[in-house]
Amino acid sequence: MTRPSLLPEKGAFGSLALIAVVVVVAAGLFAYTAGWLSPDRLTPAKMVAAFAPSGGAALGHRRNHAKGICFTGEFDANNNGVELSRAQVFANGQYPALGRFNLGTADPSAADATVRVRGMGLQITTPDGEAWRMAMIDLPFFPVSTPEAFYELLKASGSKDPDAMKDFAAAHPEFAVFGAWAQSAPWTASYAEERFSSIDSFTFSNGSGAEHVVRWSLLPQAQVVPITQSELAKLGPDHLAQEIAERVAKAPQRWTMAVTVADPGDQTSDPSKAWPADRRSVTVGTLIVQRIEPERDGPCRDINFDPTVLPNGIRVSDDPFPAARSAAYARSYNLRTAEVRDYPYHLATATGAQQ
């Protein structure tokens, strides 16, 4: 056969083998980097999947803190924060705020009194084009020390093994502090009475380049009226959303933002460790919530309150959580924005129903 060949005869086999090896190795490196060869790697997809209840995730909704309601208002800065951070948000002035009150559950229809942890997503924007996004919760510390431990907590709480939670608590002694808080901290009947904390530490840089590691809290100006879980249950499954809408319709609701500055040697990488109460605290401004809107068509719905969206003058610290949260929130956002048909827009306005 003298069929014309693309290949010269001699040495071609070795060359072709070399080319094949190059391609296979390059493909393998790519697969390794993508995690396809590492089933144990804790990926954003695995982390987010671990939130799903046994019946599956609520499509179209955030994969955690799924039940929520939008708000808008402003942040009134008093200039005190300028000594800590050069971000414009701390300079005297009023800046637009957009946020979301929420419950720490993967079930958007969970009854309010069944959810222990409440949260606030918040974005403050400034005229220089910067945005500061926060995702806060109503306890001053996080239940576990590391993102990996949080994943184990999610696996344990979803496990059928009756000893799973006991084993988890034994391996993660810091979790006992959360247990004590969940048992003893009073409930309230209003988002307006909650204190929301950054949990994670961040690094503030001021105009002369000096840096401080800080955490912050939003302290409610409304009077806190403690109630019991069963009293809250009697108020109805969606009391919190109804109550905050009525309360804000009557008068804007306010929170004081207090920035707590770490002393050298304070634990900045572990959000399960609260700092001593005597740490310096700087009151930097007031959040004023002026309007409540249902989430379905509200301005917070398609916003990812990624806590690593930070203005110049604020950056992440050695706390590993913000990166993990950013990765997981992006995954959740990508999933839910692809599921709009499962949580369509415009129904609230069409039916006038309360969400």
Binding site: L6, G35, G129, P147, S326, A327, A328, T337, V340
Partner: protein, 185 residues
């Protein structure tokens, strides 16, 4: 082949962009599979490098239109000639489209696009979940197509260099022109 080569500027652009684009694809699949603290610098690098690649790709397109390309070997079989032309159109399209898809996808999610040095890019699309999904899917799937095409490109380049020895590889090789590697055959 007559030993004609791409110009020095074209070769420089090719190899600089080769490093950038390969890094970019590895960084992309890398950050998407981790929740460790390196996630954030990887994402920031991905955005910065993406815009750098967009700028370089547009410059390169202009240079290519001006300087042209050396002719392919006259004895190159027609299917390989066609594959060479089509794959280069696809590579140029991806070099320009991928950064725009990424930028558009971030814009449609209302994420600020901040590069190294605090450079803030404008939002090029309005917030829209459906648009975000469309662009995200395109960015995601085309990334794998891009890498597959690059592997094909590398295999073809090595085929020219090692098997056909027709000067095509040497026309883009990262060696100075006076080396005249191609002339040896």
């Amino acid at each position: 082949m007559n030993g004609a080569r791409f110009t020095a500027v074209q070769r420089l652009l090719h190899w600089v962009m080769a490093i950038c684009i390969l890094s970019m694809l590895f960084i992309g699949v890398g950050f998407a599979s981790t929740i460790t603290p390196k996630y954030l610098p990887l994402v920031a690098t991905h955005k910065t490098l993406g815009i750098a690649i967009l700028v370089l790709a547009l410059i390169r397109l202009g240079v290519r239109i001006r300087s042209g390309t050396p002719p392919l070997p006259a004895d190159l079989p027609e299917p390989m000639r066609l594959a060479a032309h089509l794959s280069h159109y696809a590579l140029y399209a991806l070099m320009i489209a991928m950064p725009l898809l990424g930028w558009g996808m971030l814009s449609a999610a209302d994420y600020p696009v901040v590069l190294f040095g605090g450079i803030r890019l404008p939002q090029i699309l309005p917030l829209n979940a459906t648009l975000h999904t469309l662009l995200w899917d395109a960015h995601f799937y085309l990334a794998f197509a891009f890498y597959a095409l690059i592997l094909l490109h590398i295999a073809a380049a090595l085929f020219h260099a090692l098997v056909r020895r027709d000067g095509v590889f040497e026309s883009m090789a990262p060696t100075p022109s006076h080396a005249k590697v191609a002339a040896a055959e």
